[in-house]
Symmetry: C2
Subunit: 123 residues, 2 copies
C-alpha cells in the first residue's frame, strides 16, 4: 500500500498516517504479519520528522493493530474486537450528519457505500 | 436536554459538550432557535472553567450549528449540508471496526441501530 499524506491538510500528519494504515487493514491491503516501513524510511519518503511516524505507529500499537519489536520493526497484528468507545464515536459522527440535515436514509446509504470500498480486490 | 459530561473520561470536556449538543440536535431535543445555557451558567453547573464551554460553543459555531450573539447568547442554528470531510471521517471510523475484525454486516447493523436512536421522541 502507498502511505500518502496531505501536508496541507488541517488533520495532523501522524493522524493521517494512522488513518491510512487503519483503512489499509480494513481494505485487506495490509494483513497480519505485514511489515510497515521503518519509521526513518517513511519519514524520509514523506519528508517529515520521524517522531511524527513514531507517534502514528505508537498509537496504532496502543489501538491493538500493530506489533513493534526491535527485531522486526512495525508489523501488522490485529487484536479482535472494536474499541469500547467505538459505538459512542459512531453515534457522534452519524449525529453530525443528521444535525446538518442529512436524511437517515442518505447516512445509511453512505455507510453501505463506504463499507463496499473495503471489499475491493487489493491492488 | 441535559448536558452531561464525564470528568474522568479521556475525551476533552469541550469535545464532550460539543458531542452532546450535536447528538441533541440530531435527536431533535434541540431545534433551530433553541438557546443553550450561557457559558458561565453551564460552567457553574458542570463545575468546569467557562473557557472550556466557550471552546465547545466556538467549535459548534464554526461547524455551522450554533449562532452566538451578544443579545441572545448561543442559539441553535443549523447550516444544511454535512461537512466536506465527513465522508472521509466516516470511512476511517468504519475502517477501524473492520480492521478489528467486525463484519461489514455487524458494522452496518450498528449504524442502523444508532440512527434509530435519533428517532426517539424527545423527552
Amino acid at each position: 500500500m502507498i502511505l500518502d499524506v496531505d501536508l496541507t491538510s488541517e488533520t495532523p500528519i501522524y493522524q493521517q498516517i494512522r488513518d491510512r494504515v487503519v483503512e489499509g487493514i480494513a481494505a485487506g491491503e495490509l494483513a497480519d504479519g505485514d511489515p510497515l516501513p521503518s519509521t526513518r524510511q517513511l519519514a524520509v519518503d514523506l519528508g517529515i520528522n520521524f517522531h511524527t511516524v513514531n507517534k502514528a505507529y505508537g498509537q496504532l500499537r496502543r489501538e491493538g493493530l500493530l506489533l513493534i519489536t526491535r527485531k522486526s520493526g512495525a508489523v501488522v497484528q490485529r487484536t479482535p474486537g472494536a474499541p469500547d468507545d467505538w459505538p459512542a464515536r459512531l453515534k457522534t459522527l452519524l449525529a453530525e450528519a443528521i444535525a446538518h440535515g442529512m436524511s437517515e436514509r442518505d447516512v445509511l446509504s453512505q455507510c453501505e457505500t463506504t463499507l463496499r470500498t473495503f471489499d475491493e480486490v487489493p491492488a
